[in-house]
C-alpha cells in the first residue's frame, strides 16, 4: 500500500519535473506562437546552458556564476542563431523550418563535442543546497529540488506579469495576433523577434544548467526534453504562457505518478510480473494518451485561442 509520505514525495517530484519542463516550453511556445516557427534546436540551447554552466563552475567554483553563464551563453547563441539563420525561415513553410533547425541540432551537438569532448562533464549542486530537508509530515526531500520548484514558480510568475502587464508583453501579444498590423503601427518587428528568441533561449539554457546539476551533462541531453516540451505546448495551446505552465505541470505529474502508480494499480487486476511489464509500458505512453484526450476535448489545447 502506498503511504502518504511516498505519495507526497512523488507529487513533489512531478511538480519539480513540471516546472523545469515549463522553462523549456515557455520559450518554445512563444517562438512558435509569435513567429510561427518550429524550433527543433531549442533542446540544443538547453544543452548549451548546461555545458556553459559546467565549464564556468569548473573554472570558478561558483554555482551562481555558472547559472549566469548559462543564461548569457544561451541568450547570445539565441541571438546569433536568430539573426544568422532563423530570420530567413519565418516566411518558409514548417517543413523547411524543421529541416533547418534539425541541421542546427547536429551543428550544436558536434560543435559541443568538438569543444568539450565526448565524455560527460561534471556539474554538481552547491554544497549549501545539497542534501535532504525534513518537511512537515516527515517527508525527507532534497533541498535542491525544492529550490528548483521555487525558482520555476517565480520565473513562471515573472513571465506571466511580463506578458500581461508590460509594454513588451503587449507587443508580444500583438505580434502573435497580427504581425502585419503590429509592424504597420511602427513596432520594429524584427527586433521584437530577436528579443523573444533570446528570451526563450535564455530560459532553456537556465533549465539546462539547473537540471544539469542533478543529471548528466552530455551531448544530446536536450532532445528527450524537447519532445516533452512540444507535448506540453500542444496540450497548453500554442503561444500561451499560462497554457504552457498548466501543460508542463500536467505532463510532469502524469509522467511521474503514472510510472509509480500504474504498475501498482494493475497489480489489483493481474499478476505482479505482468502488472510490472504492462504498467511500465502504459506509464511511458501516459503523457501521449493525456495529450490525445485533451486534443479531442479541446483541439487547440487548453488555452489555445485560434482554431
Amino acid at each position: 500500500m502506498m503511504s502518504f509520505v511516498l505519495l507526497a514525495e512523488q507529487v513533489l517530484n512531478g511538480l519539480q519535473f513540471g516546472v523545469m519542463l515549463f522553462l523549456m516550453a515557455a520559450g518554445l511556445t512563444l517562438i512558435f506562437g509569435v513567429m510561427g516557427l518550429i524550433n527543433l534546436a531549442h533542446g540544443s540551447l538547453y544543452m548549451l546552458g548546461a555545458f556553459a554552466a559546467a565549464a564556468v563552475a569548473a573554472a570558478t567554483g561558483s554555482f551562481l556564476l555558472a547559472l549566469l553563464a548559462a543564461l548569457a551563453a544561451a541568450a547570445v547563441a539565441g541571438v546569433v542563431v536568430e539573426v544568422a539563420i532563423i530570420r530567413r525561415l519565418y516566411d518558409r513553410d514548417h517543413l523547411d523550418q524543421v529541416l533547418a533547425t534539425f541541421a542546427l541540432i547536429l551543428i550544436f551537438s558536434e560543435g559541443t563535442r568538438w569543444a568539450f569532448g565526448s565524455f560527460p562533464l561534471y556539474l554538481d549542486i552547491p554544497s549549501t543546497l545539497s542534501g535532504p530537508v525534513r518537511l512537515p509530515g516527515g517527508i525527507d526531500y532534497p533541498l535542491y529540488r525544492l529550490v528548483l520548484i521555487g525558482a520555476g514558480l517565480l520565473i513562471a510568475l515573472g513571465l506571466d506579469l511580463m506578458i500581461t502587464r508590460t509594454r513588451i508583453g503587449i507587443r508580444i501579444r500583438a505580434g502573435e495576433n497580427d504581425r502585419e498590423m503590429t509592424a504597420a503601427l511602427g513596432i520594429d518587428i524584427s527586433r521584437l523577434y530577436t528579443l523573444i528568441f533570446a528570451l526563450g533561449a535564455a530560459l532553456a539554457g537556465l533549465a539546462g544548467a539547473l537540471v544539469g546539476a542533478i543529471q548528466s551533462v552530455q551531448v544530446g541531453m536536450g532532445e528527450p526534453v524537447l519532445i516533452l516540451a512540444f507535448v506540453v505546448i500542444v496540450i497548453g495551446g500554442i503561444g500561451s504562457i499560462r497554457g504552457a505552465f498548466l501543460g508542463a505541470l500536467l505532463v510532469g505529474l502524469t509522467d511521474t505518478l503514472g510510472g509509480v502508480f500504474l504498475p501498482e494499480a494493475l497489480k489489483l487486476v493481474t499478476d505482479p510480473a505482468s502488472a510490472k511489464a504492462v504498467g511500465a509500458s502504459l506509464a511511458s505512453m501516459a503523457i501521449y494518451i493525456l495529450m490525445g484526450a485533451i486534443l479531442i476535448w479541446r483541439p487547440t489545447g487548453l488555452f489555445g485561442g485560434r482554431a
Binding site: 511516498l6 514525495e9 517530484n13 519535473f17 563535442r113 560527460p120 562533464l121 543529471q215 511500465a280
Partner: protein, 377 residues
C-alpha cells in the same frame, strides 16, 4: 560521420603506405549522443592494438550507429554489401546487437562483440560465427549478487533499464543473490531523472540497492541518490563506474563497490603495458570498454596470424583458441563462444584529482554463463 570515416580510412591508408588492405574490418559503434563515450573507448582500444601489431594490411571501417537499431542495421547492410568487409565488430548496446548480429552471422560473416552480450545470443541463438570477447550480459550481475551475499545484504532493491541487457542484468543478479527483494523496477532506457525511483527505494525498507544503469543514466542516478540522503549501500556492475563516468559523478561515487572482469590495477604484463600505452596514446586512463576493444582486436590479430577469415573453419578454430595475451590475465572461450573468466570486486577511490577503481577481491573464478548448455552449433 562521413568525414570521420574518411579520416579514419585515410589514417590507416597512410599507415599502410602503398600496400593495399588485405583484411577489411567493419566496426559499427556508438560515437555520438549520450552513449558515445563507450563506443569511442572501444574504438580507441581496438585501434591501439592494431597499431601496436604493426600490421599495415588491416583496414578499419568505422561507422557511428547513433545508438539507434535501425541505423545499425543499415550500416551493417552497407558494410556487408558495398564495403565487402571480412569481419565485423563494435556494437555496444544489446538491443542494437540483437538487430544486427543474427543477420550478419546468418551470412557466415564473423562477428566479434567487444561489449554487448545478450542472453539470446548465448543460448539457443548462438552461432559458429559469433564470438563475445567481453562477457555474457549476466556475468557482472551474477558477480554482484554473489558479492551482496558475502557483504551480508539480505533485502535488496534492484533496478535496471527496460531493454535486453537490463533484463539480463536483474536475471543475473537474482540468479546468485540469496536474500529477499525489497523491490524490482525497470526504468526507461535513457531516463535522466530517478527521483520517483529513489522515493520508492526510500519507502521500501531495503538494506541495499543494486542498480544497472550504464552511461549517462548512471551519472544521473548516482548524483541524485547521493543528494537524496537515502544512504543505503550501493552495488553495481562496472558499467556505471567506468573511468570516464566517474569524473562526471565525483564524490557521489566514492566507496561504492562494483563488479568487473577488468580493472586498471590488475597485475599482469599485458594489462600494465595496455594501461601505459593507452594513456600515452590518448592522454586519458582506459576504461573497461577500452580494455574490451583492445582484447577484441588482439583476439582478431591472433586468429589472423593463423588463418584467413575466408577459410571459415580454420578461422573459427583460431578464434576459439583465444591465443592472445588478454588484459584480464587468463581468458578462454566456453562452448558457446562466450568468455570463461574471473570477475572482480572493485571500489571507487580518489587518487589525487582523479576518481578511479581499485580491485578489492575476486568474486567469481573461471566464471562461464548459464546459457551455454542451450547452445547447439
Amino acid at each position: 560521420m562521413k568525414l570521420g570515416r574518411f579520416l579514419m580510412t585515410a589514417a590507416f591508408a597512410a599507415l599502410a603506405g602503398a600496400a593495399s588492405a588485405e583484411v577489411k574490418v567493419g566496426m559499427i559503434t556508438t560515437l555520438s549522443g549520450g552513449g558515445a563515450g563507450l563506443g569511442i573507448d572501444v574504438r580507441d582500444g581496438f585501434m591501439l592494438a592494431i597499431q601496436q601489431s604493426g600490421r599495415s594490411d588491416i583496414e578499419l571501417v568505422v561507422e557511428d550507429d547513433q545508438q539507434k537499431p535501425e541505423i545499425a542495421v543499415q550500416l551493417a547492410d552497407k558494410m556487408v554489401q558495398s564495403d565487402k568487409v571480412d569481419l565485423m565488430t563494435g556494437i555496444i548496446w544489446s538491443n542494437l546487437a540483437m538487430a544486427v548480429v543474427p543477420s550478419v552471422t546468418a551470412q557466415e560473416m564473423f562477428y566479434l562483440s567487444p561489449n554487448a552480450g545478450p542472453s539470446a545470443l548465448a543460448g539457443a541463438g548462438c552461432s559458429k560465427f559469433y564470438f563475445n570477447v567481453a562477457w555474457q550480459n549476466d556475468a557482472l550481475h551474477e558477480a554482484a549478487g554473489a558479492y551482496a551475499n558475502g557483504a551480508g545484504y539480505a533485502n535488496a532493491f534492484i533496478l535496471a533499464p527496460n531493454y535486453p541487457a537490463g533484463k539480463d542484468a536483474l536475471t543475473g543478479f537474482k540468479r546468485t543473490f540469496t536474500g529477499k527483494l525489497a523491490g524490482e523496477i525497470y526504468t526507461e532506457l535513457g531516463q535522466t531523472d530517478y527521483a520517483a525511483e529513489i522515493a520508492q527505494i526510500r519507502a521500501s525498507g531495503a538494506d541495499s540497492v543494486y542498480f544497472f544503469l550504464p552511461g549517462g543514466m548512471g551519472i544521473s542516478f548516482l548524483k541524485q541518490y547521493a543528494d537524496s540522503g537515502v544512504g543505503l549501500p550501493l552495488v553495481g556492475p562496472a558499467f556505471s563506474f567506468d573511468q570516464n563516468i566517474l569524473q562526471a559523478v565525483g564524490d557521489a561515487a566514492v566507496g561504492v563497490v562494483n563488479t568487473s572482469q577488468w580493472s586498471k590495477d590488475l597485475d599482469n604484463e599485458a594489462n600494465k603495458a595496455f594501461v601505459a600505452s593507452f594513456q600515452e596514446a590518448y592522454g586519458r586512463l582506459p576504461s573497461l570498454y577500452a580494455s574490451q576493444g583492445f582484447d577484441t582486436a588482439n583476439l582478431m590479430l591472433s586468429a589472423l596470424a593463423k588463418a584467413e577469415p575466408s577459410d571459415k573453419a580454420a578461422f573459427q578454430a583460431a578464434l576459439e583458441a583465444a591465443d592472445f595475451a588478454s588484459t584480464r590475465g587468463k581468458f578462454a572461450f566456453g562452448p558457446n563462444h562466450h568468455p570463461v573468466q574471473d570477475v572482480y570486486a572493485r571500489k571507487v577511490v580518489k587518487e589525487g584529482d582523479i576518481y578511479t577503481n581499485e580491485t578489492i577481491g575476486t568474486v567469481l573464478t573461471d566464471h562461464g554463463d548459464s546459457y551455454a548448455a542451450e547452445c547447439k552449433m
